[in-house]
Amino acid sequence: MKKSKLRNAEELFFRGVMILSSSVIGFVLVLILWSIVKRGFPALSWEMITQTPKGGFYFGKEGGIANAIVGSLYVASGATLLAMIIGIPVSLYMNVNLHKRKKLVTAIRFLLDVMWGIPSIVYGAFGFTIMIFFGMHSSLLAGILTITLFILPIMIRSIDEVLLSVPKGLMEASYSLGSTESETSYKVFLKQCISGVTTAVLLSFGRAIGDAASVLFTTGYTDHMPTSLMQPTATLPLAIFFQMSSPIAEVKERAYASALILTFIILLISIIARIISIRYQKHKIKI
């Protein structure tokens, strides 16, 4: 009897530890969001979002971070677009053309998973080397190219994960009607998974907009609105980073407000992605 009591006590104890662990994770997320909102909200103003930095901006005078917001949107949109042009065909090829070469596809998947783990600072350093090699200066274009490389494995792998769910019968049906491989890919597979693919693309966009280490080397930083691909561009994560390292209280306040803006954008993207993936689930053909 004694033994079973001990067992039950052990069971109870570890169950408590487990629930505690899960709660800690939830608590930390709430704590992060709460501390960003609490600090950022008072400093937030319309001026922050709509104006570029003015003369005394870095001493706490007037101006905003509109240039960084626009710059970040440019960088992330450009990179996401390029990564889509490369990434969607790759994942389609893996799932349609190569569907019989199981071993090869497994190897590709494996390599992509390994690439997913390469830190963004390495991509940044690489982008920088390429820039120097071609004699380019830090610019919007360099940033877009670097971020493209960074999100490419992420995008391919997440779209691939979505395409995996397509029933095999659909491919056979499409072939038996006489369609070519590319028609099967784009008109059947892509259409079937369009909600999942959109979610994957949006998540890559979120990755692209939030990354600081790779744009640090490649896009540079300015106080102007970006007007050309060859000009340096400010980005939101770097704006936060630079303002955060200022000793002046007003500038730090703005860093919190900028952090709130970035967090808001990221949350918005993830909510939209979630809605899309739930809403369009019902249009799928099920076999």
Binding site: E11, G117, P119, I121, M244
Partner: protein, 299 residues
């Protein structure tokens, strides 16, 4: 052959060629990264041997001394500390979510994990500066009878731990899910408690998967830059405890990109640091992914 048919075939050909080009490009990316970084760092490697750079404590860029040892040690401190904090939490939480939790708990936890995974590094950095740094300085350091500003290895470790939690947790959940339910059910029917099943069956079966999930978390933490840079203090020294400031490798690269072109060989040294980072992360990832792929495939 009519024109319509021909056009379809041509279009198919074109798409296939583009797909293959894109695939080959994506697959050669890591090799390109390695070659590019090695090419840039070869300038320094011609003058000094790799081992002497890695094990030298002497960091004086102005006189051409580029010892990376303090930075590598700092990186190890921060990463291991992060894993020590995040590891048990992830393990217990993953067991909870896969073995015990009701479905509504999963419904709540999934978005939490996803959102946590999507928060940008720099936001974690701001949070670290606002919450963790004062906490370390006011509450943790006095426990050990020490005084610090809070910008320490400890702060870096805590922030990193939070950042890698969603990452490790997701993999652990996959690993535990891959273990057949019959195994646990059989043991339960013999009168074992849930925890006994976990301890004797699940942990033993999942052990390689758990280790490699931790390995992946470790390599993720190793490369994290901005958040760590913001809280870790950035003092060039070999840290002797968690309550001292450190200067990890990625922070070194990110912090000095501005001046690296004005000092000879400086850019070479930083690119070498990036190259070392790349190689370490790839090796870690390769081994861990290998184990996980095999586990989830076979079972």
């Amino acid at each position: 052959m009519d024109v319509f048919h021909l056009r379809r075939l041509l279009r198919n050909k074109f798409h296939t060629i583009w797909m293959v080009v894109a695939l080959v490009f994506s697959m050669t990316l890591p090799v390109l990264l390695a070659i590019g970084l090695y090419y840039k760092s070869s300038g320094l490697l011609m003058e000094q041997s790799l081992l002497s750079i890695i094990f030298s404590k002497d960091w004086r860029p102005l006189s051409g001394h580029f010892g990376l040892f303090p930075f590598i040690i700092s990186s190890l401190w921060v990463t291991v500390l992060a894993l020590i904090i995040a590891g048990p939490i992830c393990l217990f939480s993953a067991i909870h979510l896969t073995q015990y939790a009701k479905s509504y708990v999963l419904k709540v936890m999934h978005p939490i994990i996803d959102i946590l995974a999507g928060i940008p590094s720099v936001i974690f950095g701001v949070w670290g500066v606002v919450v963790i740094v004062p906490f370390v300085s006011q509450h943790i350091a006095p426990l050990f009878g020490k005084q610090t500003s809070g910008y320490t290895i400890m702060s870096g470790g805590i922030v990193l731990a939070v950042m890698i939690i969603p990452f490790i947790l997701n993999i652990l959940i996959e690993v535990f899910k891959s273990i057949p339910e019959e195994l646990t059910e059989v043991t339960l029917s013999l009168g074992a408690t849930r925890w006994m099943v976990v301890k004797h069956i699940l942990m033993r079966k999942a052990f390689p998967g758990i280790v490699s999930a931790f390995g992946l978390g470790l390599s993720r933490a190793f490369g994290e830059t901005i958040a760590v840079l913001m809280v870790v203090g950035n003092v060039t020294q070999i840290p002797r405890g968690a309550l001292q400031p450190g200067y990890p490798l990625p922070a070194l690269i990110a912090n000095n990109y501005g001046e690296m072109l004005s000092i000879p060989m400086y850019d070479s040294a930083l690119m070498l640091a990036a190259f070392i980072l790349l190689i370490i992360v790839i090796i870690f990832n390769f081994i861990s992914r290998m184990v996980i792929h095999r586990m989830i495939k076979i079972m």
